[in-house]
């Protein structure tokens, strides 16, 4: 097992429903930034949630392995898994408003993980949090530590969440649409910040987004999902120069660009959808015949 995060043949189902992920395999090397792209319902967030062990109750892993730092998470007992994930990985969530508990001050919410999971002393954690808040360019960190979330702007809250994600020096961070709720000007700052923090700390990053523009700025490589199936994995440069899959090409053509008034004029053609859906059906058919039966 070489890659730092290695997902092998992961299939998830909605209990009593269809597969949400269809035998997904994906490697993320240490220090790499990997984008997960797809439209809503493609399963991109589910991959991140599966890695962090925060799948909704209604979703079940039916097969596959998730190797994180040489350990298959799915073979661990729940308590061991939580400890392993807590010590190795962290999340930058989508909505900075709901990700922070509104009735608690910001400081303890940043230091909690250090104290509870890693067993730091409260004072050390406090010092570390101040240092990190300064590192994410929060002015007057000491005052912010004492504030409540509603006293901070959206951009500030997202900075706090980034600081708290990096607090325990995780080796992997899952960023789930971290800038979707922000204005473009703030988004730019936050993306630059994430990129800078990632480079400085050498953290591997799994970056979930629907925005191809964002991927082109942040990621080194990407995986495109449709209907829970990975249809393409490429380095970012290759992808934007020469997308391999017809669906990827169609997605790119559908993305509007202010530099080109004609871009974004092209809805994904029907033929492309039909073809990619046939691929999904094909994957399901061979999966059912592959010995593992799902009833």
């Amino acid at each position: 097992m070489s890659a730092f995060l290695s997902i092998r043949n992961l299939s998830l189902v909605l209990k009593g429903g269809p597969r949400l992920l269809r035998s997904v395999s994906l490697d993320v090397e240490a220090g790499e930034v990997r984008g997960l792209v797809g439209e809503s319902g493609a399963g991109k967030s589910m991959i991140g949630k599966a890695v962090l062990g925060i799948l909704p109750r209604s979703v079940e892993v039916v097969e596959g392995e998730i190797w994180l730092d040489e350990v298959d998470l799915l073979k661990l007992r729940p308590s061991e898994r939580r400890r392993k994930i807590g010590a190795t990985a962290a999340l930058i969530p989508q909505d900075p408003l709901t990700a922070l508990n509104p009735s608690r001050r910001v400081g303890p919410q940043v230091t909690d993980r250090l104290v509870d999971i890693l067993g730091w002393k409260r004072a050390d954690a406090q010092a570390r949090a101040l240092e990190l808040l300064a590192e994410v360019h929060i002015p007057d960190p000491a005052r912010v530590m004492r504030s409540y979330p509603h006293e901070l702007s959206g951009g500030m809250r997202q900075r706090v969440l980034i600081a708290s994600a990096f607090a325990a020096e995780p080796k992997l961070i899952v960023a789930d649409e971290p800038t979707t709720a922000l204005d473009v000007t703030v988004q730019k700052q936050i993306l630059h910040l994430i990129a800078r923090m990632q480079a400085r700390h050498g953290t591997a990053l799994l970056f979930v987004t629907h925005d191809l523009g964002v991927v082109s700025k942040v990621c080194g490589s990407l995986a495109v999902l449709y209907g829970g199936l990975v249809v393409e994995q490429s380095p970012v440069r290759d992808f934007f120069r020469q997308p391999a899959h017809a669906y990827s090409r169609a997605l790119l053509a559908a993305t509007p660009k202010y530099t080109d008034p004609m871009a974004g004029l092209n809805p994904v053609p029907e033929a492309v959808i039909t073809a990619v859906q046939a691929e999904v059906a094909q994957a399901d058919a061979s999966w059912r015949n592959g010995g593992w039966r799902h009833d």
Partner: protein
């Protein structure tokens, strides 16, 4: 899921999950149906006259115990009256109170809540203050006072429940109407030029209806309890007519000699109130199209 047109392809996967079978809907609904049938047809179904006293058959145990007499399924009380028949006749009172008091409370409370929550402004100010003041009175005292003034009886019991409990509906429905009022479909109705009252009835009301239904079934359970309490302390209808509360009060005195006189009406009361609350939740699960 083969589909041709692009936009129609990815229907929400959640729509494909089968709705959980409404077991609690069936259980609670089933019990209430049994109760309604028993109450409605009590004169034909009840094995005995509930008022008939017979000292030769006093304190007979239920059918499975030694010394039971055939025909007295759940035994008799100290005056020899058939417990099962009395429970069936008692159900008439309980259900009438649940139905009338529950519905009237819902109508009054929900109407005021809807008006306060949607029209806001002065209407809200007046109604909300009224609710606040109303709720500051201790409810049991209020009920007893009311019955003291009106005199005991079925009507007094129903009025007492309405007067005490309309605030519950008003508060919850007001909050729900406010939340719905902030939705864009309400703005959309305004853009379309719909009048305020029309918007309230055609747009808001259907969306608060599930909440009202759940509250209504809860309220029916509460009404059954309140009636039982008032008849327990002898403030409901006259003592000779069987009520569950009255039976519990009588059973209490002879619990060591004849536990069944206490336990059966108590269990019936418990099951009924539980069924009402479960029915509401079950209905909501089953028939709410916007469950997420």
């Amino acid at each position: 899921m083969p589909s041709s047109t692009p936009g129609f392809a990815m229907l929400d996967a959640r729509a494909m999950v089968k709705r959980r079978l409404g077991l609690r809907l069936w259980l609670s609904g089933g019990w209430l149906v049994v109760l309604v049938v028993a109450a409605t047809f009590a004169p034909w179904l009840a094995p005995h006259n509930p008022l008939e006293q017979d000292l030769f058959t006093s304190r007979l145990p239920p059918f499975w115990m030694a010394g039971a007499e055939p025909g007295y399924w759940l035994g008799t009380d100290s005056l020899g009256r058939d417990v099962l028949s009395r429970i069936m006749y008692g159900a008439r009172i309980a259900l009438v109170v649940a139905l009338i008091a529950g519905t009237a409370t819902a109508l009054i409370g929900a109407t005021l809540g809807l008006i306060a929550g949607y029209f806001r402004g002065w209407a809200d100010l007046v109604i909300s203050r009224l609710v606040d003041i109303w709720m500051a009175f201790p409810p049991v005292l209020f009920a007893i006072l009311l019955i003291a003034v009106m005199g005991p009886g079925l009507v007094s019991v129903i009025v007492a429940i309405i007067v005490i409990d309309w605030t519950r509906f008003a508060r919850v429905v007001r909050a729900e109407a406010m939340a719905q009022g902030a939705m864009d479909y309400v703005a959309s109705a305004q853009v379309a030029g719909q009048k305020r009252l029309g918007t309230m009835l055609t747009e808001i009301l259907p969306n608060v209806l599930p909440t009202i239904v759940v509250l209504l079934t809860l309220e029916m359970g509460i009404a059954v309890i309140v009636e039982a309490i008032l008849s327990f302390v002898n403030l409901s209808i006259s003592t000779d007519f069987p009520t569950w509360g009255g039976m519990i009060a009588e059973g209490r005195t002879s619990v060591h000699q004849a536990w069944w006189v206490l336990v059966f009406p108590l269990a019936t009361l418990f099951l009924t109130v539980l069924s009402f609350s479960q029915l509401g939740e079950g209905l909501k699960d089953r028939f709410d199209p916007v469950l997420r």
